[in-house]
Amino acid sequence: MRSLHALLRALRTRRNRHHETDPIATTDHPGLADLLDAARAPATQAELAGEKETVAAFVAHRRRAARSSRRHRTKARIRAVLVPVTAGLALLILTATGVAARTGNLPQGAQQHAHRLFSALGVPAPRTGNPVTPSPAPSRSGPRPTLDVAALGWCQAWSGGPSRTLSREDKRKLSAAAGGEKGIEKYCRDLHRSASAQPSAPTTPPSTSPAPSPSTSVEPLPSVSAEPTGTPQPGRPAQPGRPDQPGRAPTAPPSTKPPKPTHTGKPSTKPSKAASPSKSRGQGTSTKQNSSPSPAVTTPQNAARSVPAEDD
């Protein structure tokens, strides 16, 4: 009991002195000290038996974690590349479409749609097509004549005599256009040729057409139609004129077919019904077949019908 009091006193004083010192010093009690020493004894072999297994588990877990993290990292890297690229592409496409819509260069349907949606933003209606194509043409041909005219002026000034009436700057421009001072002569010659050809181009249609007309295919067309000698066309108009020859036309087409059945005698029913009134007179040879019940029956009916008709 005395020792317990000593222990408690020691605990109390230690706590007052400093808080966190080792409580080992508390064990004035020898039995308690033994007990705590036994509990704190160094590790036995049995206690440390499982080291290999635990370390193996640690290594395996680390390997697995590294693999999964690597996979995760590559995924993240792919994402880090893909996201900005797709965003940039989308932005580019949107901007391009917007610019095209603003300048009216979209296809007509799309431009119409954009105009309907964003006319407030200044998206123009689609052009009808005519203004689009001619506008670049004059604009292209516009500057060229001016340059040519200027160059032509220089050339004339240059070729007018080596008197150098050209200003120095003009000469520099001319040599630049000709690709060197030596090429100026050739350039001017080409320029003259093209300049003489160009103005003639618009005027040629009226002027050239009369001259080469005999050789070209323009005249043959009226000439062929005027002359009646052509075989394909006259064939049709000639047919109406042929009825003047009466003998051939009636004989040839109808006569050839009917006689054949009459000679054979077999196809009696068909020709008899169809051509009985017309052929009965001229073809006396087929009397028996004509006198078969069918014409006999028909004749009274026809007679009966004809009688009231005549009465009416």
Partner: protein, 180 residues
Amino acid sequence: MPEDELTDALRAAQRGDAAGFATLWRSHHPGVLRYLRVIAGDHAEDAASETWLHVIRDLQNFQGDHNGFRGWLFRIARNRGLDEQRRRARTRETPAPPDRTAPDAATEAAEGAATTWALNVIAGLPADQAEAVMLRVVLGLDVATTAGILGKKPGAVRIATMRGLRRLAGHPQIRTRQGV
């Protein structure tokens, strides 16, 4: 082992070094196992391996020095030990109480047997006192860390430790050894 070395070992283990982890394990596993003997009895081995698996899994995310690591380690061990205890209570495979009554101290001479006897005596204390004595006195954790592990206030930890020691001093087997 000095604190600095263990802190180095902790950093190495966090980088994935197996040797560093082995150092940590060798220096802490006996303490964990003995603490779990007091808490979970015969299931201490299972609870200890579960504790270390948990440590392996979360070591990378742990932040702090070696002292903090000890607190973290024993908090995990306590949770695993209490889980084991609860499972044992549910399955009702309660180990025989005779295991807890310490064998005669005089007959225990072999290495480890004294430790087992001492742990059994400490395990005979009320649970809160046994834990406080183990963590504070046997394993040498400071009051704040022990209070954090047990989820108590530091004053409660001090009282529990004092009462536990007083009760141990009054234990018949220790009283008999007093004169030895």
